[in-house]
Symmetry: C2
Subunit: 367 residues, 2 copies
């Protein structure tokens, strides 16, 4: 963890102010990135409960399995530690710390199992999402966080440059092979962890979340590569498409539309613009070209300690962009059974306009 | 996925019978292994909801993001598909499919975010854990599942043999290096995925879930290696300790106790024995030797499609072992600031007695 992600008493103070404003009595965070954002410690996603209990006033307490307690770096100004023994019931400990609370905000990724247990232990409590109080803080990245995102994006860019340069052999290899290769390159370029490496060739590219498989890449095919990892606690995410050989005319034509739509989305990512307007700008261009039915997903997602977080760039999200919001702009066109394409950059909204963190060539490169 | 993990109408029928017996009206499974156990499909752990809705009677429906729908292998005899668009509310779709349900059982690892939404959408429902209806089925492994577990354990064993043979250089390398090396060997030995590779040297071994780090391994130290992965959908998990050079007398003495306790636990793993009795047998031996306060965790956990699942081998769990239960037997002794040790095998309870799946040498090998 870097300075950007060690957590701090200051962040906890800001969360408590948000709790007061929104009438939240107790905040409970477990698995997910809210916990490291506030404390520097990440809960293991296991059946043994780790949970930070933050009352609006009074000490925050981290309830942690005794055998994991040695992993926690103590921060007495942020939280105190409550290790629990294998024969104790951690949900009961959390319920007691929460007290006869009115409104309890729980982290999005907490296991439902523990919420089920808390429903029985706190029958008079009202539960809501912690993202309402922590999300707005995490959404606005500070300078250290933007620097971390920029470094991660630059690492992913270097892999995209290798892809464009033909350094990553495609023809004759399976998607799964190429995916593993891209993963190794993400690590070599400074990432600590590979989060995903979608490699989808030809008709497989029409499945936006295709799982790289045994299909061998041939000549004259579009190959969609969408990959990202975590570097010093912050995520990268980039999509570039290449063609193995001559570019078929229909693909070239559609890609020109996609390219225009993506660049228009980036240009529209200015402070004050509602998220859904960024989505609409690119979608209108794709629809005008007749591909509206084939752009089957939102334009983008926020990015930070998680690959996907607020703000989402989607119809229905009227939240105006603020300086420090970081998110993807990634329209796509998918023709089932034929081909698919997507183009993605990470962008930070700033008072000086959109700041794209990816600089790798945006053209459909022939490799 | 192999035959062992493709899901089937027969499994769903058995789940429905359990729902009837326990008065569960609707089962909701999302992230986690219940979903592939029943349908062959694993939900992506993302903010876009994937959820199988199983009413006690009538069709099961898989609610899935439209862009992930092409990933789902259709099984019309098991479930029908309900892809949702980016502008739809998937929780509302689930609530409608659930109907004005009385008792709703939810998967342990479902994101709490979706349960919070369902609490508001189904205000009259009672929520409980799906593990009550799916767990007992998943706990009893069939022949194909045991074969898959045996193959995974054999792969992990081969890596342990390499460790014992000195093929994995330890002295002068960091824990993190050795951890990555073990991970590569798990893959080379047939695993599809590395789930974890704890490497903890000297005093670090006293932290049972130590995260392999920059500490360089020296001479005359105990090195605890606990690693496992997934092969064809089923998990391996093994712990062996080695010493780099001469074995200090105190470590040799404690290890003899640990070894005896672990073998006693394995021997006690007979059909009909309550889980907690397997825990008690080894714990008594460790306590009698004066190390009772330093065995800070339960004896073991069930294993299958997940590294940790029912049955847990822990005080308080009176469930008798059944033929087909698969679980770890892994006592440990941890002296804070000095050293730690653990010895772990996977065992299947059978009508012919305990069937240990790991055969790698159980001694404290000098490398």
């Amino acid at each position: 963890m870097t300075a950007a992600s060690t957590g701090s008493a200051e962040r906890l103070d800001r969360v408590r102010r948000a709790m007061t404003e929104q009438g939240v009595d107790v905040l409970l965070v477990s698995v997910g990135r809210d916990l490291p954002y506030l404390t520097g410690y990440e809960a293991m996603p296991l059946e043994r409960l780790t949970m930070l209990v933050v009352p609006r006033e009074g000490d925050a307490t981290m309830v942690v399995p005794r055998l994991e307690a040695p992993r926690v770096v103590k921060q007495p100004d942020v939280f105190r530690l409550r290790p629990w023994e294998e024969t104790e019931d951690p949900s009961a400990i959390v319920a007691e710390l929460a007290g006869p609370a009115g409104t309890v905000a729980v982290g999005d990724q907490m296991w439902a199992r523990f919420l089920v247990e808390l429903l029985a232990l706190l029958p008079r409590a009202t539960f809501r999402r912690a993202v309402d109080v922590v999300g707005p803080l995490r959404m606005v990245k500070d300078a250290a966080e933007i620097a971390a995102l920029r470094a991660a994006s630059a690492g992913a860019d270097r892999v995209a440059v290798q892809l464009h340069a033909g350094d990553i052999q495609l023809i004759g290899r399976t998607e799964a092979d190429v995916s593993a290769d891209i993963g190794r390159r993400l690590i070599a370029e400074g990432h600590d962890k590979v989060n995903f490496a979608i490699v989808a060739a030809g008709e497989n590219a029409a499945s936006p979340h295709h799982h790289a498989g045994p299909r061998v890449i041939g000549e004259g095919e579009i190959v969609l590569c969408d990959f990202g990892g975590t570097m010093d606690g912050y995520c990268s995410d980039i999509t570039r498409c290449v063609v193995t050989g001559d570019v078929p005319a229909d693909i070239a034509e559609a890609y020109a539309v996609l390219h225009e739509a993506q660049q228009a989305g980036v240009a529209a990512s200015t402070v004050g613009t509602p998220c859904q307007d960024v989505d609409r700008v690119g979608r209108a261009i794709i629809a005008a070209a007749g591909f509206g039915d084939f752009f089957v997903h939102r334009t983008g997602h926020g990015i930070g300690m998680e690959e996907h977080e607020d703000p989402y760039i989607v119809e229905g999200n009227g939240r105006p962009l603020e300086a420090g919001h970081a998110f993807s702009v990634e329209p796509g066109i998918y023709l089932p059974g034929r081909w698919g394409m997507r183009l993605e950059d990470i962008v930070v909204a700033t008072d000086d306009g959109p700041d794209p963190l990816n600089a790798a060539d945006h053209d459909l490169i022939q490799v």
